[in-house]
């Protein structure tokens, strides 16, 4: 027995010593910014980036020709690697950019120990890379048919096996007459083109790095950006350290009127970045993210649905306890839309307008917003969200929640169904969802609401790839979807119902309406103004009348941060500009004890 006692004592001591050596990092030391990503990053290759989280990681390392002004709203573009905004020819097809001087890529073995300045040819290389069919960029749509000669270049590359020397194939629309000038010639005016140049796939890379790392390039980010990728543990964290050779980029000097009051212009004109290091932590579950934020391990956070009541009281006001901890919460509308999609090619829901109208009237949006977003969303009356030009706050959805009307429309829908050869009542509607808890809860609520008008719903659960496949193959009948702005232009939302974008494209409803298409094609390249607004109104009217969607909500973001974080302003279209954010170590030291 003595032996067992001895083993027990040794094990106990070992465990205690392990606990004793538990390393609690001195959270008040240094300017290290800790932020969270709620999904892992697949790779750091700009051309294959396809999600918000990859965008956030990429913009620490890489830079594009243009960026959004950090503070101004409505969103406004400004030059980044370009010295000034491009000179646009009168016909709107030629864009001339002049690069800033003395910009260098991060040091990397790919450059053989030499400082490597940014050149105009790097921009041409980066844009040609988007067109390379072997790289399968999900963002090719943004250049397709837009840049003179680029589509032909793409076709030509198809006949060769990688690696391909892009310089061997000239693209007439992409020219670098000298080391600092880039001339881009479009096939026709493309109003959204400057916005495209802020997107992650247009960030500038160096050909030497691509050549050196080959297929592993996406694991070796080397750009001109404010931070250098120091370490990356997949599924866990990315660490970036300040780029000591970063060019003389400065904090913005202009913003919205309230920015001055909120202290967001104190650092105007100062050189960025302010912090020494950034760690982006991957949290796929909300609890560790939230607890790490509350403990001060994360500088920013999001409020999970289940923690809402611990932050806000019954009146929706921030609780005193949260204020006492100097936690700052702001409220900002997201440029997005949440909607249910009818497959217009489905013989039941697609051919029965009354049925779609009945479903529209049967769904209690306010109740859904309360249940699923803790009221952190507003009812959508049209496809364009707040914050995007063309949003009409006075717009009313003619098929908003009205249970009695829904019942009447359901009767009409059944009659129409029977007139077109159907027998009995409308068959059960198949509702496709992904295999997440929230999606299942949402399906239960939808089913509950539609039962009230005598409609039956059958939920079909699938993995994300299965869900995508069903959408792409037009195999769905009814499903839910959300769209966040790629860029702040109404076209980005109205294209979701353009017939040429049908599945597998973003028009998941497979909505086809000639009048809508003509209006879209006219509106797409127009400058903002009364004429464009009038066309948008007509398009929205068609959407209201034809009901290819159930317009649900526009979400409201509640970014949350600690009191020691300075200069933070959420950018919903192009997030992650951490070069402007600062940490106040003295303030952090004061606040940290309050968190315990």
């Amino acid at each position: 027995m003595k032996h067992f006692l001895a083993i027990g004592i040794v094990m106990g001591m070992a465990l205690l010593s392990l606990l004793g050596c538990t390393k609690h990092t001195d959270k008040s030391a240094g300017k290290v910014l800790n932020a969270a990503l709620v999904s892992d990053i697949k790779g750091l290759d700009p051309v294959t980036s396809n999600d918000l989280y990859t965008h956030i990681a990429l913009v620490q390392v890489y830079e594009g020709l243009l960026q959004y002004n950090y503070l101004k709203r409505p969103y406004e573009l400004e030059p980044l690697l370009s010295q000034a905004m491009p000179v646009i020819s009168e016909d709107g097809v030629t864009y001339t950019f002049r690069l800033r001087e003395n910009i260098f890529f991060h040091d990397d073995p790919a450059f053989n120990g030499m400082a490597r300045p940014l050149k105009a040819s790097d921009v041409v290389f980066s844009f040609k890379r988007v067109a390379d069919p072997h790289l399968k960029s999900p963002n090719w749509w943004s250049f397709e048919g837009r840049i003179e000669g680029l589509d032909e270049f793409r076709k030509k590359l198809l006949t060769f096996k990688p690696p391909i020397d892009y310089d061997a194939y000239h693209v007439s629309g992409l020219a670098a007459p000298d080391d600092r000038t880039i001339v881009i010639k479009l096939t026709r005016p493309y109003r959204q083109f400057p916005y495209i140049l802020t997107m992650a796939h247009t960030l500038i890379i160096a050909p030497e790095v691509v050549k050196k790392y080959g297929e592993e390039f996406l694991n070796h980010a080397v750009g001109t950006g404010p931070f250098v990728l120091k370490d990356w543990i997949r599924n866990q964290k990315l660490i970036f350290k300040r780029n000591s050779k970063y060019w003389d980029a400065t904090y913005p000097t202009e913003g919205e009127p309230q920015d001055q009051i909120q202290g967001l212009l104190v650092d105007s004109g100062k050189k960025v970045p302010f912090v020494d290091e950034i760690t982006l932590w991957v949290y796929v579950e909300s609890q560790p993210l939230w607890l790490n934020f509350l403990q001060g391990n994360l500088d920013f956070g999001g409020i999970p649905k289940e923690a809402y009541d611990s932050v806000f009281d019954e009146k929706g006001e921030i609780k005193e306890e949260i204020k006492r901890k100097k936690i700052v919460i702001t409220k900002e509308e997201d440029p997005d839309i949440v909607f249910f999609v009818f497959n217009m090619e489905d013989p039941i829901v697609g051919k029965n307008k009354f049925l779609r109208q009945a479903v529209n009237c049967a769904i209690d949006r306010a109740e859904m917003i309360n249940l699923f977003y803790n009221n952190r969303a507003v009812i959508a009356n049209g496809p364009i969200p707040p914050g995007i030009w063309g949003y009409d706050p006075n717009l009313k959805n003619p098929y908003s929640f009205d249970l009695e009307r829904a019942k009447g429309l359901k009767i009409k829908a059944r009659e129409l169904y029977q007139m077109s050869g159907g027998k009995g009542d409308i068959p059960t509607i198949l509702y496709d969802i992904t295999n997440s808890t929230v999606a299942r809860q949402l399906a239960e609520q939808v089913s509950h609401e539609l039962t009230k008008i005598g409609l039956k719903i059958e939920t079909r659960v699938g993995t994300w790839p299965q869900f995508q496949e069903r959408m792409a193959k037009k195999q769905t009948q009814f499903t839910s979807y959300a769209w966040n702005a790629d860029y702040p232009d109404p076209e980005n939302f109205l294209q979701l119902l353009y017939s040429k974008n049908e599945s597998p494209g973003p028009n998941s409803a497979n909505f086809k309406n000639k009048e809508y298409d003509l209006l879209y094609e006219k509106m797409r390249d127009m400058a903002d103004g009364p004429e464009r607004l009038e066309i948008i109104r007509k398009m929205v009217k068609i959407i209201h009348e034809e009901v290819p969607w159930v317009l649900m909500s526009h979400r409201i973001g509640y970014p949350i941060r600690h009191g020691w974080v300075r200069n933070f302003k959420r950018h919903a279209v192009s997030p992650g500009l951490f070069k402007y954010v600062d940490i106040d170590p003295a303030e952090k030291k004061k606040i940290l004890p309050l968190l315990r």
């Binding site: 694991n219 599924n235 699938g462 790839p465």
Partner: protein, 310 residues
């Protein structure tokens, strides 16, 4: 012995073939189209066809399966569709982390379970036995998720005894982050194991040789820890060794909640992203480890019990 091992390895071939066939069918029937995940919402039909051609998805199913079998034979699963990393590196990185997460608590929990089960069996029907059984049943009845949420909230957040989540690849820093997941792993697994081992020990305690040993004047301690334990070793070995392959796979929930970059996370990401090369490799790794586990367990039988002839 050698001929037995060779025979078992040969038996493994049809098993692996079956696993490969089922994986292949499942992936193609319910796995979703990886091309859609890779190309995104704006991809044209031509682009999708092009990528399908590049990956060989447009070839007849039989040829695709033959290619897959070729990859198994050569252990070359190429690169991940999503991360473009070599599969071998991904598996090695993930398995190392998963083993760090799983092995220490597994052996601690096995040791504790055996000791507690022996005590419960020795004091059958008495207070100690009842207490151990009740605690085991309670432990088994609570969901894994509840333990994780409680541990993270109470022990890490409220009491600040452990980091809430995280992982470090450096030693001994990594231990700092693993202590809480280890404790949770032990609590989760100990209940079922204690009950299982208790049944085994009780069965042995009713054997004639135990009565004989007592009659010969052997102390209760010697009877329990020498005679009974040795005879109960076969089912214990089976239980322990069969579990070992699964340790490589880590624990999805623990990895997800504690931000531990192990094989569990890797596998789930691969399934969710239709990352076919990773799915194939992980499934095959699981099957191979299971077969190996069985083989080792059989070999250990012979060591533990001279009556077992291979």
């Amino acid at each position: 012995m050698t001929s037995y091992v060779v025979r078992r390895i040969l038996y493994a071939i049809p098993i692996l073939f079956g696993v490969s066939l089922v994986t292949f069918i499942l992936f193609h029937v319910v796995g979703g189209d990886p091309v859609l995940t890779l190309l995104g919402k704006h991809a044209s039909v031509d682009e999708m066809q092009e990528l399908r051609h590049q990956y060989g998805f447009d070839r007849p199913m039989v040829l695709q399966f033959v290619r897959y079998l070729g990859q198994i034979v050569t252990f070359n699963f190429e690169r991940s569709f999503q991360t473009k990393q070599t599969i071998g590196k991904m598996l090695a990185d993930g398995a190392t982390v998963s083993l760090w997460l799983a092995v220490p608590p597994f052996f601690i929990s096995q040791f504790m379970s055996i000791v507690l089960a022996m005590l419960a069996a020795a004091f059958r029907g008495r207070m100690a036995d009842r207490f151990i059984v009740i605690m085991s049943v309670l432990g088994m009845s609570v969901s894994v998720l509840a333990y994780i949420l409680f541990g993270q909230f109470f022990l890490a957040f409220k009491l600040n005894w452990f980091p809430i989540s995280g992982y470090e690849s450096d030693f001994p820093d990594r231990i700092t982050y693993l202590v809480l997941p280890w404790i949770i792993w032990i609590v989760i697994s100990i209940g079922a194991d204690v009950r299982f081992y208790r049944t085994i020990f009780l069965e042995e305690l009713n054997q004639d040789y135990v009565r004989t040993a007592h009659a010969k004047g052997a102390s209760p301690f010697r009877v329990l820890f020498v005679h009974v334990f040795r005879n109960a070793l076969l089912p214990i070995i089976t239980h322990v060794v069969i579990e070992i392959p699964f340790l490589f796979m880590g624990s999805l929930l623990l990895e997800a909640f504690f931000g531990i970059p192990g094989l569990g996370n890797l596998a789930v990401n691969a399934f969710n992203n239709a990352d076919w090369p990773v799915v194939k490799a992980v499934t095959l790794l699981g099957a191979v480890l299971y077969i190996l586990g069985n083989l080792i367990s059989d070999l250990l039988y012979a060591k533990a019990d001279p009556r077992v002839a291979l």
